[in-house]
């Protein structure tokens, strides 16, 4: 349904003609996030620069029940920042200021459009950093990180975005700007901030974020260990965790990934390795020295082909280079891929890797792996040629089977990318009707008319519009009244 002329005129009055993208070509830019499989351009894109503009836009849309989709840098991987039902997209890129850096209290307040890495750059010279480090951190916005509760390689030790958010300013689905949390911790009341982080724009629009800053570790040591069998690498991961270490990062690459990376860059991963582990330890120097020796020893004990320890920052960067180029390198293997990020309990890593190989063989698809092994967070890239529809079907079937296998092992549908449009249908694998109903109710408190990013995160239920109705437990009959 096209937007009314009055709505467009009102939007223009709020953000100015220069803050509105109305042309077809202009809107096409916003039709998908990095999961280009899902496309849906908004009817118009508004680019506010202030919170009161966001409030005005939401109130306007609410009055006409027009869907609103917030968007940061559009680097999400889940079909989140796109508009399957059309409506108004609110692009937050112009709200990109650092509002305050408060080092005595080790926090900063920023606007949502600020690029993740820019915050660390602003405080690095004083020895601080912002911990969440999604691979997209050079381009993704902090608002987007908050929206998806983004993770990254180093969240094994440091936790995901939610562990670093102290406060939010949120414009709810009713157009109220509310402050949740703040610089001071332990605010009495329900932790609404805690559920707003990761709500993928379905509660409202984040217009300011207060985040923790951490003191940079004294020492960092990176180890690259290669193995002839992926099982050995998986066992090494389990052994390192069992030895009482919490590495900052513990990443694994499989044979197919190693080959693709080696073909395209000089990362120099061993050619005959079936698996590579990247282990990074950080903290006080004495701790890092002791633990990195121990980690290296564990790798040798598990039959490592080679264990390399970076001696300086340049060598560290080289060891990481291949890992960071992984997603790009896959292009050498196949035109397209399906990516998911299910998690299994860490002890199940060897089992799921065997299962994954079997699933690939069963569906005749190649699966390349590069993932956060330390927390059991898989990132299988299921390769296919999009010119062959039958191959896509096989890739999808393999993907579903793998997801089911992860859940059966006690895992979760998504570890860090989020749900979006892509995985909403998969949530019932993990949650019963009662669990989903509870989530609907959380959402309803913030957005009673379901205008905020509709169709994302929660699955729609065929039987009733408002969500899943759980069965009440039976009270023993006849005993009373």
């Amino acid at each position: 349904m096209p937007l009314s002329r009055t709505l467009l005129a009102d939007l223009e009055r709020i953000v100015g003609a220069g803050g509105l993208v109305r042309s077809y070509e202009g809107r096409l830019v916003y039709e998908s996030d990095m999961h280009t499989f899902y496309k849906g351009a908004p009817d118009v894109v508004a680019l506010p620069t202030r919170t009161d503009q966001v409030v005005a836009i939401v109130r306007l849309c609410r009055a006409e029940r027009v869907p609103i989709v917030p968007r940061g840098s559009g680097t999400g991987l889940i079909g989140g920042a796109m508009a399957p039902q059309g409506g108004v997209m609110i692009g937050l890129n112009r709200m990109d200021k650092i509002l305050e850096i408060d080092l005595p209290n080790r926090c900063a307040t920023v606007q949502p459009g600020l690029i993740n890495l820019f915050l660390t750059r602003a405080v690095a010279n004083r020895g601080y950093f912002f911990a969440p480090d999604p691979s997209s951190q050079m381009v993704s916005s902090i608002g987007g990180n908050v929206s998806t509760n983004a993770g990254g390689p180093h969240c094994l030790k440091y936790g995901i975005t939610t562990n670093h958010v102290l406060g939010l300013e949120l414009v709810t689905g009713t157009g109220e700007a509310v402050r949740l949390g703040g610089k001071v911790v332990d605010r009495p009341g329900y932790d609404l901030m805690g559920i707003a982080v990761g709500s993928e724009g379905t509660f409202g629009i984040v217009t300011a974020v207060t985040v923790r800053l951490l003191h940079a570790p004294e020492a960092v040591r990176t180890i690259l260990a290669s193995f002839v069998a992926i099982e050995d690498a998986s066992e090494a991961v389990s052994a390192i965790i069992a030895a009482g270490m919490i590495p900052a990062a513990l990443e694994m690459l499989d044979e197919m990934m190693i080959r693709a990376i080696n073909e395209g860059s000089n990362a120099g991963y061993p050619k005959d390795a079936a698996a590579v582990l990247l282990i990074e330890l950080d903290g006080p120097l004495a701790e890092v020295m002791a633990q990195s020796e121990r980690a290296a020893q564990i790798c040798w004990e598990r039959g490592a082909l080679e264990v390399r320890m970076a001696r300086d920052d340049a060598e560290r960067a080289l060891l990481w280079k291949g890992r960071k180029e992984a997603a790009g390198a896959v292009g050498r293997l196949a035109p397209t891929y399906l990516l998911q990020d299910a998690v299994v309990p860490r002890s199940k890593l060897p089992t799921i890797m065997r299962e994954l190989i079997a699933i690939g063989a069963r569906h005749r698809v190649r699966i390349a792996n590069v993932f956060h092994a330390g927390d059991g967070n898989l990132h299988p890239l299921i390769l296919y040629d999009d010119r062959n529809p039958e191959e896509l079907e096989r890739a999808k079937a393999a993907n579903e089977e793998l997801l089911n296998a992860c859940i059966a092992m006690g895992g979760t549908v998504t570890g860090e990318h989020g749900v979006g449009l892509d995985k909403a249908k998969n949530l019932p694998l993990q949650y019963a009707d009662a669990d989903l109903n509870f989530m609907y109710r959380l959402r309803r408190a913030f957005d009673p008319e379901t205008i905020m990013n509709p169709g994302k995160l929660l699955p729609s239920h065929p039987a009733c519009g408002e969500g899943f109705r759980p069965a009440r437990p039976r009270v023993p009959d006849g005993a009373w009244i």
């Binding site: 408060d102 005595p104 209290n105 080790r106 020895g127 562990n163 709810t172 509310v178 402050r179 610089k183 001071v184 911790v185 332990d186 605010r187 009495p188 009341g189 329900y190 932790d191 609404l192 805690g194 559920i195 003191h215 570790p217 020492a219 069992a242 009482g244 919490i246 006080p284 120097l285 004495a286 701790e287 998690v343 309990p345 002890s347 956060h372 927390d375 059991g376 895992g411 979760t412 998504t414 570890g415 990318h417 749900v419 949530l427 993990q430 009662a434 669990d435 509870f438 109710r441 959380l442 959402r443 408190a445 929660l458 009440r472 437990p473 039976r474 009270v475 023993p476 005993a479 009244i481």
Partner: protein, 439 residues
């Protein structure tokens, strides 16, 4: 008691068995909350029983107060109603523990010491040390969001709770979160259950992140002439590469109780890591202390439990929890001293502050209702401009009836909380009246 009342009692017996339901005077009196005596005390033996008890209460419009060890019943406003005290201590099983996952799923009634005993052989621990932790239940700690000095390094329940199974106000058994250390599938339900005092659901099962026990751990006390000097020292530590487990400012009375000496302020520090890093950390700490002109001495591990004991209020005393900022450590300490001097000059006051966060626990003795009220209000004014809070975590019922124990909550946020509570528990079955804004 009415006929209907008797039949409800029979229904509870049908659910929890004859031994699980008490309606005799002594049992009911022992389960009273702020003088309100429940009509039944039901001890559930399983999560299914909890679900059925709450469903029954919901149908009969009864008010349920879930309880663990009963150590935090003085947190919050006096309840509006109370019919059923639901004792969860029988739910004390470990549901799933695979040490290689460094996480565990337990029933909510398990105590911290029982859990610790299960974890110790695997050199793992749950990094939570709220006051009186050993006999407290995990469910109670989650419902009250309790924490202690270890939060300086490991955070609070919100950093450790991965998944939660709970019973909603209508008895529906619900699960939120996940059993793995990293998950963003759906809303982060565990967060909203923490500190909610059971008003959004009765906590039944928790999946928790664990940590490896450090190879070595040692503690030191750094004596400083004033709170200002203590703050300067803390800033040096925080701005260094040291990674302390605890970094706790201790006020005069606590020091007098546990480590009498020449100064009125001190910072207690513990470092846990591999042996060589602990030794080296201790040396650096000494250097930082020297730079501040302070005296540093090693203290035994028991120091922490001694300090905890000094902070534990006796019957009739009050415990305030102040949330301020790290950068205002000294300001806040001075405000406490001044508020006490103005409101209750003869009062005794013990303070302890998680220095990197600026959260303070204040034990007040020898004050009356009017004095504690005045002190609380004055401190609330003090932290209002920074968005801080002062919660009466313990105190006589009369005190918590006279002054809102939670303090003011931002109107916009409170409206959302009310909408949520109204939607999930319109009949106010779960802990009516005890939470913020009388929810």
């Amino acid at each position: 008691m009415s006929v209907a009342g008797r039949s409800v009692g029979k229904a509870f017996v049908a659910i929890a068995g004859r031994d699980g339901v008490r309606d005799d005077e002594p049992a009911r009196a022992a389960a009273a909350v702020d003088g309100l005596v429940p009509r039944w005390v039901v001890r559930a033996a399983s999560l299914e029983q909890v679900s059925q008890v709450v469903a029954l209460a919901h149908e009969a419009a009864l008010a349920v107060a879930p309880r663990g060890s009963g150590s935090a019943l003085e947190l919050g406003c006096p309840p509006a109603r109370l019919d059923v005290a639901l004792d969860l201590c029988g739910l004390d099983r470990v549901v799933e523990y695979n040490p290689a996952d460094v996480s565990i799923t337990v029933e909510a009634g398990i105590t911290v010491s029982a859990l610790a005993a299960r974890l110790a052989p695997h050199r793992q621990f749950l990094a939570l040390d709220p006051p009186g932790a050993s006999t407290r239940t995990l469910g109670g700690i989650a419902a009250t969001n309790a924490s202690g000095p270890l939060r300086a390094r490991y955070g609070t329940m919100r950093d450790l709770l991965l998944g939660v199974r709970f019973v909603q106000a209508d008895g529906v058994l619900t699960w939120g979160g996940s059993k793995v250390v990293k998950s963003v599938s759906g809303y982060d339900v565990p967060k909203v259950m923490i500190g909610a005092l059971g008003t959004l659901g009765v906590l039944g099962e928790l999946t928790l992140r664990l940590h490896p026990l450090p190879d070595a751990e040692r503690s030191w006390l750094v004596r400083l002439p004033s709170a200002e000097a203590a703050q300067a020292f803390v800033e040096r530590v925080v701005d260094s590469s040291l990674q302390p487990n605890r970094l706790e400012y201790l006020g005069e009375q606590v020091l007098e109780a546990v480590f009498p000496g020449p100064t009125s302020s001190a910072v207690a520090v513990s470092i846990g890591s591999v042996e060589e890093a602990v030794v080296e950390g201790g040396e650096r700490l000494a250097a930082l202390a020297k730079a501040e002109g302070a005296q540093i001495l090693p203290v035994p591990d028991a120091f922490w439990s001694d300090a905890e004991r000094a902070l534990t209020p006796s019957e009739g005393e009050a415990l305030l929890q102040i949330a301020s900022l790290a950068g205002r450590l000294a300001t806040t300490q001075r405000a406490i001293v001044e508020a006490v001097r103005a409101g209750a000059p003869r009062a005794r006051v013990w303070t302890s502050c998680c220095a990197p966060l600026g959260t303070v626990r204040v034990r007040l003795a020898d004050t009356d209702l009017a004095m504690t009220t005045a002190i609380t209000k004055r401190l609330r004014d003090e932290v209002a401009e920074i968005g801080g809070s002062v919660v009466i975590a313990r105190g006589p019922s009369a005190l918590r009836a006279a002054v809102d124990p939670w303090g003011p909550v931002d109107a916009g946020a409170l409206a959302l909380m009310r909408a949520l509570r109204d939607d999930l528990d319109p009949k106010r079955v779960l802990n009516p009246g005890r939470f913020v804004g009388g929810l």
